[in-house]
């Protein structure tokens, strides 16, 4: 590991639910069948630090393979971190096991991407939504549990009379509501939604997004939203982190990040989002050159320098640290974008 510096003054404030410090996850690449040996590692998450504040919605965006889902799985403790620390309500949960891990899992729930494969087809909706209570031995009284499940079904906009139906009797949007009901059953402190609408039809996406926003406001939920759709993330999130090859390259409030992106990669992502505005038809596209390099062998120093239009020699030598500039977003870049440059790279500021 290269030298890791503490980022910013990480004070232990009360409004901070999760504090992630220098989180690292490397997946080993092994060769050989009898004598297995490690020949390298996929650096899926490679030194990521951020905080999740109580009651906020934090978006994580980035291209396939940037480590956004791995980060979420590490916070859920579905994967074990290679290095670094995750504090949940001030307590280090990185290496918890057994009962104490189960207690944390109750506080952190997940909404999955695919509403078809994430529901057991042989269980009724009632037992799917009621399962969190069974796992944590809550509401042992059957009629009481049923009443609670039906209340949850109503909360997410399902008909409580459908308690005894099976998943195949529901449409994609309704199934995603079932997934949401299950996730909020135990009133978790943190809800992680990994691409919650990307498998749904356009007209249904808005139904589920509105539901999530409504629940977030009503119950003051803290939400981490992982999505590749930058318009969805802007609509839903108070703050956004942009990841590239296992690193956070920029993080800040939605208004700052979408209004005045400072990292050239954020700028390139925003410029690439197709807009439902035909006046852009025929405009020349400014396309980011090249492919995302392999996370097994990422470029030196700033990982974006191989594709960055602003890269200079220092970018391949010294790694830029994440730091807040001009009261806006925090950005890890030696040559952050200036406001005059935005139009030139095709970003329409959306302040």
């Amino acid at each position: 590991m290269s030298a890791v510096e503490p980022i910013g003054a990480v004070e232990q404030s009360a409004d901070q639910l999760v504090n992630v410090k220098d989180l690292v996850k490397h997946f080993p690449i092994n060769r050989g069948i009898v004598f297995r040996r490690k020949v390298g590692a996929v650096k899926a998450v490679d030194g990521v630090s951020f905080q999740i504040r109580r009651g906020e919605t934090l978006g994580i965006v980035g291209e396939t393979g940037c480590g956004k889902s791995t980060t979420a799985k590490l916070i859920m403790r579905l994967l074990d971190a290679t290095a670094g620390e995750i504090d949940f309500e001030g307590k280090d949960i990185t290496r918890l096991k057994g009962g104490s891990l189960k207690a944390v899992r109750r506080e952190v729930q997940l909404i999955f991407q695919d509403p078809y494969s994430s529901l057991n087809p042989r269980k009724t909706i009632g037992s799917i939504i009621g399962e969190p209570f069974a796992i944590h031995k809550l509401l042992p009284d059957r009629s009481e549990r049923k009443r609670e499940v039906q209340r949850l079904m109503e909360t997410v906009g399902l008909n409580p009379e459908h308690y005894n139906r099976y998943p195949h009797e529901f449409s994609g949007g309704q199934r995603q509501r079932i997934g949401v009901a299950r996730a909020i059953a135990l009133q978790p402190k943190l809800l992680i939604a990994d691409e919650p609408v990307s498998a749904l039809d356009v007209s249904i996406q808005a139904q589920v997004l509105n539901l999530l926003r409504d629940l977030q406001r009503r119950f003051g939920l803290t939400v981490v939203l992982i999505a590749h759709d930058l318009s969805v993330v802007r609509h839903m999130c108070d703050r956004v982190a942009v990841m590239y090859l296992g690193k956070i390259v920029e993080i800040g409030s939605s208004d700052d990040l979408y209004g005045f992106p400072r990292h050239p990669y954020t700028g390139a992502l925003l410029a690439a989002v197709p807009q439902p505005d035909p006046s852009r038809h025929g405009e020349e596209r400014r396309v980011l050159g090249g492919d995302v390099p392999s996370p097994a062998n990422p470029p030196s120093a700033c990982r974006f320098h191989t594709r960055c239009p602003k890269a200079q020699e220092i970018c391949s030598v010294t790694e830029p640290q994440l730091a807040q500039i001009d009261g806006g977003t925090s950005v890890a870049c030696h040559f952050p974008l200036a406001r005059e440059e935005l139009a030139g790279i095709g970003v329409r500021s959306s302040g």
Partner: protein, 356 residues
């Protein structure tokens, strides 16, 4: 609208699949046309019939026992009744298609070059060496670096975006007059998507081909298409120039689509207005206007009358299949465009005056 003959003209196309549960009315009488060098965007959700209509153009639904009626005129020939051998000479040659999933569309056990050579030799009587040179040229054309080395690699050695470029190279092998792209960028990241769309635009300029792009993404059609057809439950409900569809949409379903997506150019806290309900079954579609069960403005008789696709007043190239009064439609849209919800729009416009 140019006076020249369209390259492709689809007339009253109907495609039905008999199944155990009943007949699926996948495409329910649609008419559209594309001129050389132009791009038509077909927008719709899953199950709206947009893919089936394109597969039928290539004769790819024939073997699935589909009942096809209507006409598909390509350069004056009706592809619906064209014998299979003659259709095969057109498919992949004059009309080519790019599919959504580039990984499952490429054979994993053959080198990319071999698959490209096959595409060239299927329609051209050329030597293998000539075809190989053409394959390398095509890979270069679609922006794959180091094509003479990449030609000998297998599909798994290419990234998703690169595979989609290979698919486009294969589609372009014989310089088609018409390229049908079915959700060509849906599985890709935004930066790769921008590169692929830019590539298609560049090739269209250079080769003068017509493009039919099928997508659910309103952003993609807005940036690519000259004309747009909006499909719902097997029918075209609205068709017009891209500028008209986005500035003066006439159909409540189009309004619903436009208001249900978050946009970077709208205020961040603006609420999304979802379309209520779910897309209908195509085995037993709703009577009358297929959209009436989800339409906030529907009136009782809309469940009985089938709307025809008709020109809107004072804009003959803009067609809509809607039973609402044109004046009422415009008043409703004026409210919605200002950010009103369907309920607010209805309240502002007022109830329908009882007429005959």
């Amino acid at each position: 609208m140019s006076a020249t003959e369209p390259l492709l003209r689809v007339e009253e196309l109907r495609v039905e699949f008999p199944t155990e549960d009943g007949v699926v009315h996948a495409v329910d009488g649609i008419t559209y046309q594309v001129h050389a060098g132009r791009t038509l965007g077909i927008v719709g959700e899953s199950g709206s019939g947009k893919t089936v209509s394109s597969l039928t153009t290539l004769g790819l639904t024939r073997r699935q026992g589909a009942r096809i009626s209507g006409r598909i005129l390509f350069e004056g020939q009706d592809l619906v009744i064209l014998p299979e051998e003659r259709l095969r000479a057109i498919r992949g040659n004059d009309i080519a298609m790019v599919f959504q999933d580039p990984l499952s569309s490429l054979h994993p056990l053959y080198k990319v070059g071999k698959q490209l050579i096959e595409a060239v030799q299927a329609h051209r009587d050329v030597s293998k060496a000539t075809a190989r040179n053409r394959a390398i040229e095509l890979l270069g054309l679609v922006g794959i670096p180091d094509p003479s080395r990449r030609v000998d690699q297998y599909p798994h050695e290419f990234s998703g975006g690169m595979r989609q470029r290979v698919m486009i190279a294969m589609a372009l092998a014989n310089e088609p007059k018409l390229l049908i792209a079915d959700e060509p960028t849906t599985a890709l990241d935004v930066t790769v998507q921008a590169a692929i769309l830019g590539l298609m635009e560049r090739l269209q300029r250079e080769l003068g081909m017509a493009i039919v792009i099928i997508t659910h993404d309103l952003g993609v059609v807005a940036e690519m298409a000259d004309d747009i057809a909006v499909m719902y439950a097997g029918r075209i409900v609205e068709t017009a120039s891209a500028a008209r569809v986005f500035a003066n949409p006439e159909h409540p379903y189009t309004w619903g689509l436009l208001r249900s997506i978050p946009r970077l150019d709208r205020p961040r806290d603006e609420d999304l207005v979802p379309i209520p309900g779910t897309p209908p079954s195509l085995i037993n579609p709703p009577s009358g206007c297929h959209f009436h069960p989800r339409c906030p403005y529907a009136e009782p008789e809309h469940s009985r009358i089938d709307p025809a696709l008709e020109p809107v007043p004072d804009e003959s190239s803009h067609h809509v299949a809607c039973l609402l009064e044109p004046a009422r439609r415009r008043e409703l849209w004026a409210q919605l465009r200002e950010g009103g919800t369907p309920e607010q729009a209805l309240a502002a416009v007022g109830p329908l005056e009882t007429s005959s």
